[in-house]
Amino acid sequence: MPQKPNRVLLEFEKPLLELYKKIDDLKMQDMDMSEEIKMLEKRIETLQRDIFSNLTPIQIVQVARHIKRPTTLDLINLIFNDFVEMRGDRNFSDDPAMVGGLAMLPGCKKSNPLGETIFDQPVVLIGQQKGSNTKENIKRNFGMAHPEGYRKALRLMHLAERFNAPIISFIDTPGAFCGIGAEERGQAEAIAKNLRSMAGLSVPFISIVIGEGGSGGALGIGMGNRVLMLEFSIYSVISPEGCASILFRDAKKAPHAAEVSKITAIDLLEMNVIDEIIKEPVGGAHNNYKETALNIGSAIKKHLSDLARLSSRELIADRYRKYRNMGYFTEE
């Protein structure tokens, strides 16, 4: 007997519930109801399209944090081949909140006098890893890395540099972890050193915000030559809840904080903090992992082939220019 799918609907997705229920009922029947199911699925898609084209910033925050949203490892496994996970910072421990390793990116194109060749590009991957349920999240510390996580990431970046492999980082974290051990082992130093090191990397570097881009913890692996964002992800200096309780002295004002802090992909593209928005499937990334992975994969390939034209020196200069230009001020 077919099982009822384990669905997690957000508050604003509730209008879909009726339709899902109807489909589930039809599926339980012995007769062939595929025509009716198809019709209902069409209606769901239309409704989803409608809902997701009008999300408020705080609703986007909810999608970005969706428990079923594809995680870094989900996407790595769908986009790349032959992933070899590497563990540990060779100093203190392995941090399960930060993953990384070696992989091949299939289907890359290179033009040459004879036409185009298609090849597998070796890449080094890093990213914060959230869990898809409570148990996993506890193991992964909800994607909040300790200093050893950032130092593992740095170790991988330097490896990439030595072997001339492009780096792809996946950003999905509420922030770097705040705790006693994190402070003792130098969370600030670990992030700062990553920032300085990323500025000097001689290989192409692409950063992709796939869910939550939480402050310095996100930036700590996020100084790509190109920074991309999934459509319904967020990137901010502080969480809307944190902003609300500090600046508005009321945690319930998070929706307002999300609005005024400009944390959505569209806002950040407007401010030139990111370079491109990657479209999500209808109903958000959690609704279709494959399509999400496909969209991310083609964005990576496009930007890698652009960056492949730059020498090491040009890559560093390109990155310097990008971050050097960030800021708004007057001078008179």
């Binding site: 770097a176 402070e183 700062a192 200096v237 800021g327």
Partner: protein
């Protein structure tokens, strides 16, 4: 209250000094007594000033303003301010309990500064240096676009002139009223320091009370030598945030300069009265190391 850019302030000081000792203590009205934050003893303001604002009884280090810090660090009449007219912009139209644009104006009036950092060139025991000094009294020393731009500019000047860079930090972290742009200043300043590092230009970071958040997690932790003032609170997250996260009380001395020294994050904890000598020794090393 009249606004005074730091360079104007220095000029004014110079004029006053020339005019005679009567106007020398213009910045402190009357005979003020100040209660020590730590040991509660009452100190005559003049004595506190003469002691670089360190409590003579218990050694507590009061916060210094940018101008006081520069006076305590840079040889007299050698300081030239750079980019004094950079001002923050309320590009998000951000309003919390007051509009950001008003906060900026108020802080400018209160401090006589254009933003939370002053940069310039000067000499330290005759050695030419670039220097940046943060001022906590300007919006908690928070780092927005202006702080990021000024740290970057002074780093670029040091790179260009091949002179050492010294930055005194005092900051609660990112300036939230500038949203993501405040976060990006961490990337920007660290990138500038990466260039200094490649060129083997020395960078000395001095962390004073408090240095937390995005400032610590970028330029403040990246010194060739990291130096701290005694008792300074230095950390990634503020202690309250940590207590809320882990739901337990923090041990005494946690995140203080001495704690960071013990955990290998700072090279020297130097009391204020010895700081200039300490910096001189370090600069002397780099000056001679570069020659050989």
């Amino acid at each position: 209250m009249a606004k005074l850019a730091l360079h104007q302030w220095f000029q004014k000081r110079k004029l006053e000094k020339e005019a005679g000792p009567a106007s020398e203590r213009l910045d402190i009205p009357g005979n003020l007594w100040i209660k020590c934050t730590k040991c509660q003893v009452a100190i005559f303001a003049k004595d506190l000033d003469a002691n670089l604002k360190v409590c003579p009884k218990c050694g507590y280090h009061f916060k210094l303003s940018a101008r006081e810090r520069i006076e305590a660090t840079i040889d007299p009449e050698t300081f030239t301010e750079i980019s004094p007219f950079l001002h923050s912009k309320d590009f998000l139209g951000f309003v919390d309990s007051a509009p950001y644009s008003q906060r900026i104006l108020k802080s400018e009036e209160k401090t006589g500064l254009a933003d939370a950092i002053v940069i310039g060139e000067g000499e330290l025991h005759g050695i030419e240096v670039g220097i940046g000094v943060m001022d906590f009294s300007f919006m908690g020393g928070s780092m927005g676009s202006v702080v990021g731009e000024k740290v970057t500019r002074i780093a670029e000047i040091c790179l260009d002139k091949k002179i050492p860079l010294i930055i005194f930090s005092s900051s609660g972290g990112a300036r939230m009223q500038e949203g993501i742009m405040s976060l990006m200043q961490m990337a920007k300043t660290s990138a500038a320091l990466s260039r200094l590092r490649s060129a083997a230009i020395p960078y000395l970071s001095i962390m004073t009370d408090p240095t937390t958040g995005g400032t610590t997690a970028s330029f403040a932790m990246l010194g060739d030598l990291n130096i701290a003032e005694p008792g300074a609170l230095i950390g990634f997250a503020g202690p309250r945030v940590i207590e809320q996260t882990i739901r337990q009380k923090l041990p005494p001395g946690f995140q203080r300069a001495e704690f960071l020294e013990k955990h290998g994050m700072v090279d020297i904890v130097s009391e204020r009265g010895k700081m200039k000598e300490e910096l001189k020794k370090v600069l002397h090393f780099f000056e001679n190391a570069a020659k050989t």
